[in-house]
Amino acid sequence: MADAAALLPNAPKTIVCDGNEAAAWGVVLSRPDVVAVYPITPQSSLVEYVSQFIADGTLDAELLNLEGEHSVLSALQGAALAGARTYTATCGPGLAFMFEPYVRTPGLRLPMVASLVTRDMLTPQCVWGGQQDAMTVRDCGWIHMYCETVQEVLDTTIMAYRIAEHRDVMLPVNVNHDGNYLSYGVARAEMPAQAAVDGFLGVKDVNWHAALDPLRPMAIDPLTGGAGGPGPSMFVRYRKGLCNGMRNALRVIEETHAEWGRLTGRHHAPLIEEYRLDDAEVALVTIGSMTGAAKDAVDALRSGGKRVGLIKVKTMRPFPVEAMARALSKVNAVAVVDRAVSYGWNAGPVYQETLGALYRARHMIPAVSVIGGLAGADITDGHFARCIGMAFAAAASGQAPDGPVWLNEND
């Protein structure tokens, strides 16, 4: 086996790659101990890259080729409880199959990192991008961060470990990047030096709180709760503890992004990004890779004199409600563009969150729910121009349309 260190950059290095490869490099630099893989479109090339890196010795990790996503996450839980830094990636039906151990991971407070190469959900049967998978599991207790660019995928993957393993957080993190658009979209990316990442992540200690280790015998997950004895209060303590971890994560995510910016010169917005918002009358709210085209649309309208800005959600969980409330307070109407559906609300999930933040801001403005880009559909700058138009209309009338606007309805 080649000396792993020799293959890694000892100085920052520029590469051209797609989002899946960028995530794989982020994994390499984060040096997980155990990686478990099971392929699924559009994640497959990501785990192929990681497997190849392990095969080549670029990454010195235990590679588990398991028989399905359920076992993938289960094995990683075992490894994490034994002390391992872990990694996997999945999406769509794979995530659904993983659901049972998935919902359990936050309660065990396992600081794992898993990429979701987001994909629309069945049915209709489809294999293309969309965020229905990740949005569906947004309330399971995982931290969810959505990336906009190939570079952000690489950087966020590394940052995710620091956030997850932070003693005040101790929660699993999903680093989400859009299937098709980011997974296969090629761009230039800067790779930090391994030594810099090593220093940034510090000494790994993932099972100080809960371990399966004969040197520190303990029972993991005794039956807890019930109606009597210490059960109810103990159960509440665990639940509140998880909520506290989530709350702490807001701070830790910001600190981590700031530290990363100092280290690499790349400053990604940690929770939300405000784009040309300061004097804006209306704003788009976006998430993920659609934001690029949305910013182009904003820029174009700005050059036409329209006062429009943009709020990009990066961290969907914990939801940065204060930051969002502050940003929303600056405008008179918003159009929220979702790549997923909340069936019961007949709107997009980010839209719902936005409504919540507006209430928190006591800022009762019209908000338009727009749903687009499902199952791999493109959201163009033309689409965004339409959205901005709707936002201005809503601002003028003080009214938003009933029900969502389906962007690709006539495409």
Binding site: L66, A82, A219, T224
Partner: protein
Amino acid sequence: MPSYETIAFRAQDCDGCMKCVTACAQAKSGADDPAQSRIQILGAAGKWELALCRQCGDPKCVSNCPSAALAKDAETGVVAWDADRCVDCLLCTVGCAYAGITRDARVGHVSKCDLCDGDPACVKACDRGALTLNTAARIHRRAAEREDLFAPGLAACQGCNSELLIRHTLRHVGPNTVVATPPGCIPGMGTVGYNGRTGTKVPVFHPLLTNTASMLTGIKRYYKRVGRDDVQVLALAGDGGTSDAGFQSLSGAAERDEPMLYICVDNEGYMNTGMQASSATTYGSWTSTTPVGERLQGKSTEAKNLPVVMMTHNCSYVATAATAFLEDFYEKLDKAIEVSKTGMAYLHVFAPCPTGWRFGSDRTTDVCRLAVETNFFALWDYTPDAGLTFTRPTGRPRPVREYLAGIGKYRHLSEGQVAHIQATVERKIAHLRRFERTGA
């Protein structure tokens, strides 16, 4: 009944050096002639066997002796032979299935092991530990001497054999272990504890019902990576978590021959949650989801034959066991522990459930024994190299009706259903026989 010393033989530790034979011949005749030895080692390299008096508790040689020359000494347990009374008729040899009493032509009468007054020369001569002087009580005492790694006061139902099973298992496996007990009776009795308290002195956890084998995979692989290969991972799982929902992860681990010891405690259904049927529930069984009524007569389909399924995966070791035959279980457990250092060892242990199967809590061991003796639950072990070996004879089974008779969950069975079960038992044994190694 007092418990007596006997000489125990572990074939796997014998290298055929014949030192025991020479030592016996020396001790008993002053010569090196192996023919004068009362212990004989037979067979060939790798499969040594033993011919020696077992000092039976119920010796047939004594019953067959017309001259009262043989008697079991109540004090020492030795089946003693009296030269003065012996008439050299050899009827004693008819009674012995193990060639433990045979005629020595040189002295003109039978001779047999007398345990050398409690200090057998053969045992002393064996430097491989293949021969040991044992009492049944001492075997249990030896188990007792090892630390009980479960807390006292586990709350299993009266008559349940699982507690015995898991306590003895962990005593053998030892403290450097991580134990997984997926939802079922074993955590139900408190092994993982309640509300922050644990029932186990080694690391223990509740996996999901579905992911025991994969969680153990992750644990073991990590310890291997960090050079702590000696950490043993152990599953104590029910049949539901093994054969139903947990099967995929088990199958994957077996396919990869992941180093672990996986013990399925088979009580043929979800007994912990109110006796619902699982894929391990046997044909005809009443359960709360295969009830008996005008239209349904208990489970209408066969049980999944999981041990056989596991045998045809890539496991390094597969065996079945029943607690009526504890020494058989110990032997398999020891083998399994050894194997699980490098590959997957799967033990399928029969666990009749007095509560869910509806039989008296004093009958569990009888039910185990009858299951084995009727071939309803055959005892065997399997390695890819050696094939399948029956560890209790299956040639002369009792009718399965005798097993079914005392068990409430079979009370409603029609004659036709009993006949069906008998036929299934026979078919399953015939199928198993095909995995027996050929060429002894």
